[in-house]
């Protein structure tokens, strides 16, 4: 890998200036590299992070196809990686005018990374630096422990989609005023009332004392207040600590839970494993926002590259070439989804709506179709609205909030479905629905959504780890359950149970029907299924399953 030429860098700097003038906000230091195909081979499996830790599975082509893409929502790799300073990669054969477009695209990504609140936890770190240190740690451990490091990576990666990203978000983005009150909440709501069972007058007295302290000392009041508390109740600090610890236990982060409570990892000779697990966990957390903002991120970047490119004075004469390339990136396919196109359309739509003041109750309650069409309060705050959305939303919120019937009608988009036509021997693609509700559902269904699995401490008796899967209409991929649980059992060092829901067939299908027509859309022997709770148990590498 080498840096781009000074010539290209100068173009980039020009783009930065224009992007900043247009309102994008990002750190102005960036690094741009030319990548060759050989570099891409190394970078691809590592999500373009050159310093990501080594893992042998990266070296093998992973199984990917239509079916498994649904199952393996890969961390999308970008041309630009979210680190400080941001790093982006380029082909060395892009002409200048195309580089201008790509640079704008990249700058919008950087802007998105550095302003969207779902990336909050990645802002304070140089991820490539962190990753490099992790990579060295793993290499060092590898020299010492050999293939066992690979096993720990593998088994931890088996649960690295259950890292409880949203709890981290909630912790980080919690307003300052709420953050410090955990201790207060505990003191007033639990400690005084249920443990000490103080009288009402005493309770009110204590509350008054707190309010007095606040008015007297302002921000530092809490510690002053608690200094006295510690005197009158010396046991308070210890009890609060204990409470905090149990609180952490209720979290849905299974990797963390295993790290904290595994009898196997507690052994002196296995302690190094938690280091590896923590690296895998942190890496997974780093990628979480990226996969949750794919449509927005690409839409945002497409919106800006289009907007800024067309105003750029340096690209005269290449409009047609650009139009061709841009159309290919951002055209809505006849069937299929294109996150670039969809995100771009949605951002443009929202801008238009906001400009006309249509994101308002006044507009929403308007039933007259002609009045709706002409509704325009000329607020002109479209761009501000976009910036707000870029800061505060993720894909789910973005789609759920803004995909409405007007949008669906405007762009003539629809839910497409395919069915086999056996007579003609073809797949038929047809328009399933033009209803916004259905379209939104289809989109939301296609978003990344890891299962919600948490540790059930009450049922985790006698060293058993009891995992409870909250059923959301989809069962888990059964083929992957054994090996995933095998890995957890290894790290946990004791039996592991998983409670989940599966579809169990009601009765047998008409077997004489033969395979020719099955699944051909014939309704005459439709199989019915029933959702049942089942319990998997992995003990000594043996998996058993019981119906609950």
């Amino acid at each position: 890998m080498e840096l781009i030429s000074q010539h290209a860098k100068a173009i980039m700097e020009g783009c930065k200036k224009r992007a900043c003038d247009a309102g994008l906000k990002f750190q102005t230091e960036t690094l741009e590299y030319i990548v060759t195909n050989k570099d891409l081979i190394d970078l691809g499996p590592k999500n373009m992070i050159p310093t990501l830790y080594d893992y042998w599975v990266h070296d093998v082509e992973l199984l990917k196809d239509k079916g498994t893409y649904e199952l393996f929502p890969y961390n999308p790799y970008e041309t630009v990686i979210n680190t400080r300073p941001a790093i982006s990669f380029y082909n060395d054969n892009n002409p200048d005018w195309l580089n201008v477009a790509i640079f704008y695209h990249v700058l919008a990504h950087i802007d998105f990374f550095q302003n969207n609140l779902f990336y909050r936890h990645t802002w304070d770190e140089d991820f490539t630096g962190q990753a490099l240190s992790d990579k060295r740690t793993i290499a060092m451990l590898h020299a010492e422990k050999g293939r066992w490091v690979d096993y720990v990576i593998e088994f931890t990666r088996g649960i690295d989609n259950l890292v409880d990203y949203y709890s981290l978000m909630s912790e980080i983005n919690r307003p300052e005023i709420l953050k410090s009150t955990k201790r207060l909440d505990y003191y007033f709501d639990v400690f005084l009332q249920t443990i000490k069972k103080v009288s009402l007058t005493e309770y009110l007295k204590e509350l008054d004392r707190y309010n007095d302290t606040v008015s007297q000392y302002g921000t530092g009041a809490e510690s002053i207040f608690f200094a006295k508390v510690t005197k009158s109740y010396p046991e308070f600090a210890a009890m609060f600590e204990k409470k905090k610890k149990t609180e952490r236990e209720t979290r849905r982060d299974i990797i963390r839970f295993v790290e904290d409570h595994s009898s196997f990892l507690r052994k002196e000779e296995n302690k190094w494993m938690t280091t590896v697990m923590e690296i895998v966990r942190k890496t997974s957390l780093y990628f979480q926002p990226q996969i949750r903002t794919k449509i927005m991120n690409e839409g945002w970047a497409s919106y800006w590259h289009e907007r800024l490119f067309l105003r750029d004075d340096r690209i005269k004469g290449n409009e047609i070439g650009y139009a061709r390339v841009n159309a290919k990136i951002t055209s809505l396919p006849r069937v299929g989804l294109n996150p670039y196109a969809l995100g771009l359309r949605l951002f443009s739509y929202i801008e238009d709506m906001a400009d006309k003041g249509r994101l308002s109750f006044d507009f929403q309650r308007l039933a007259n179709i002609n009045a709706r069409e002409t509704f325009d309060t000329k607020t002109g705050n479209g761009l501000d609205t976009l910036f707000w959305i870029r800061e505060n939303m993720n894909d789910f919120m973005f789609i759920n909030t803004f995909v409405d019937q007007d949008f669906v009608n405007k762009h003539k988009i629809f839910v497409a479905e395919r069915r086999p036509n056996m007579e003609k021997g073809v797949w038929e693609y047809y328009i399933k629905s033009r209803n916004a509700e259905a379209y939104r559902k289809m989109l939301l269904d296609s978003l990344y959504h890891p299962p919600s699995i948490r540790v059930d401490e009450e049922k985790s008796q006698e060293g058993v780890l009891y995992l409870n899967h909250r059923f959301e209409g989809k069962q888990l991929v059964q083929e992957y359950i054994p090996n995933t649980m095998l890995g957890i059992e290894y790290l946990w060092g004791a039996p592991v149970k998983l409670e989940t829901t599966e579809f169990v067939a009601d009765g047998q299908p008409d077997a004489a029907e033969g395979s020719y027509y099955s699944g051909a859309g014939e309704k005459d022997h439709e199989q019915t299924y029933q959702a049942r709770r089942v319990l998997y148990k992995m003990e000594k590498k043996e998996l058993s399953k019981t119906l609950l």
Binding site: P73, N161, L162, G336, E472, S515
Partner: protein
């Protein structure tokens, strides 16, 4: 990502990007019941349908900078991979390497099939497939049309005419598949410990060596060739002008150089007389669509690869497809890809094999093996036409290995074909092998079945 591409078909070639580059590749795991999907033409309606929104990325979508490479570039070596996999088993963890076929469509319809080792990272994932299959067949779209209107069609199985693979580039593609299948054979032999035919006695050895004293060597060797040595000595002496009259040679006057001694040496000769001829035949009728075809083809890929590896390409293969009529496919590649809708007459394929063999008296020079793939369905429900043909084949064939792949709905039932074969099977227990696999068979099951089909020594296999 690496194999997925998302770009329109007529992307302008700029900066040396070639127009003839693979558009999109999909792979399916052998034995996994994920469909092997040959993607449609890049600009067809199929393009992009069902592709996850996470499948596109800037580097591919915006810059089209997707490198063309195979697993060979990324892995240390297949051997390392296999060693690692073996080590896993020793450590008490299940093996993780699988074999997948990767179809890499190339413009002009000359798709390439590449066999790659692959693996999956197992996690708890939501399963979108069952039972709401409808849902997983849904995606977005745009443009005009009423609800319910069909906006595009695409053949469920693309028929690729045998003739479309012309010389030139077609040859190259063929070479590629051969090369990667050879690798697959190596993986199979090493990993799954498939029987090694060379050790199974001479009787059926397909590649036989004879050791003969045919080669001549000057100076050293096993047996002195007196006649040749004398001739050599005379020649040398003529050159040295020690033979004034060739009609009256005085042996006592001849000088003998050690270099003139000509010996016969042992040499390894390949004996081509007992070559093998392997027929692969499969039903490509409508009833085979989906899983049965997947399974049969997957197993035949493995058998073919394994044979290629075992006999270093010395094995001759013929490929036969049949519905109600049989046709011969020119190469494995076509055999692998072709599909059609129609009825089923197994007899037609056996008749064709018999005709091929009889026409050139092939049974005299070859060990003949037949591997047949079917879903067990036959219009000839009692086998009155098929059995005579098969009997004829069994007369000369060393082995008929039949794979019956049932669709899931027919599981547990005895198929028509199986029913009428039972008599024949009792008659030729050594020659006729049947393996019935279910629709959801996994890789390991296919290999187990393959072992059964090709097992050479009777009575040693517990599963027969």
């Amino acid at each position: 990502m690496k194999t997925e591409k998302d770009e329109p078909s007529d992307r302008p070639s700029r900066g040396g990007a070639t127009a003839e580059r693979p558009e999109e590749g999909r792979c399916a795991c052998v034995g996994d019941h994920v469909l092997l999907e040959a993607p449609g033409p890049a600009d067809g309606p199929r393009h992009g349908f069902l592709r996850s929104i996470y499948a596109t990325a800037d580097i591919t979508h915006l810059q089209s900078g997707l490198p063309q490479y195979s697993y060979l570039h990324t892995m240390g070596s297949i051997q390392d991979l296999l060693d690692r996999d073996l080590q896993r088993e020793k450590d008490g963890f299940p093996r993780k390497i699988r074999i997948a076929r990767l179809i890499r469509p190339v413009k002009g319809g000359k798709d390439k099939v590449v066999v790659v080792p692959t693996t999956i990272e197992e996690k708890f994932y939501h399963d979108a497939r069952i039972p709401e299959q409808q849902e997983s067949n849904r995606s977005g779209g745009s443009g005009d049309g009423q609800e319910g209107e069909v906006v595009g069609e695409e053949p469920i199985h693309r028929e690729q005419g045998a003739g479309s693979n012309g010389p030139g580039q077609g040859e190259g593609a063929q070479h590629e598949i051969q090369a990667s299948l050879y690798d697959l054979g190596r993986i199979l032999s090493n990993k799954f410990r498939l029987p090694n035919l060379k050790n199974k006695g001479k009787k059926r050895a397909l590649k036989k060596y004879t050791y003969d004293l045919t080669d001549l060597n000057r100076g050293s060797g096993q047996v002195l060739d007196k006649k040749a040595t004398l001739r050599r000595i005379i020649e040398t002496n003529i050159v040295l002008e020690r033979v004034p009259d060739v009609t009256a040679i005085d042996p006592s006057q001849l000088l003998v150089s050690p270099e003139d001694h000509v010996y016969r040496v042992f040499s390894k000769e390949k004996d081509y007389e007992s070559q093998a001829l392997v027929f692969f035949m499969r039903d490509y009728s409508g009833s085979m669509s989906g899983e049965p075809t997947e399974l049969v083809v997957a197993q035949h890929v493995m058998i073919y690869s394994w044979l290629l590896y075992q006999y270093e390409g010395l094995v001759e293969t013929r490929f036969i497809l049949h519905d109600t009529e049989a046709r011969e496919a020119p190469d494995f590649y076509t055999y692998h890809n072709l599909s059609i809708a129609g009825g089923t007459r197994i007899e037609s394929a056996y008749r064709m094999i018999n005709e091929i063999v009889e026409a050139r008296n092939l049974d005299r020079d070859y060990n003949i093996y037949v591997f047949q793939g079917t879903d067990g369905d036959d219009w000839d429900s009692s086998g009155e036409k098929t059995i005579p043909e098969m009997r004829k084949t069994l007369r000369y064939a060393n082995r008929i290995g039949i794979t019956i792949a049932c669709g899931q709905s027919a599981e547990g039932l005895t198929t028509t074909f199986e029913k009428y074969l039972s008599g024949l099977k009792a008659e030729f227990p050594d020659k006729l092998k049947i393996d019935v696999i279910n629709g959801d068979a996994q890789e390991a099951r296919l290999i187990e079945g393959m072992r059964h089909l090709i097992a050479l020594s009777e009575g040693k296999r517990t599963w027969s």
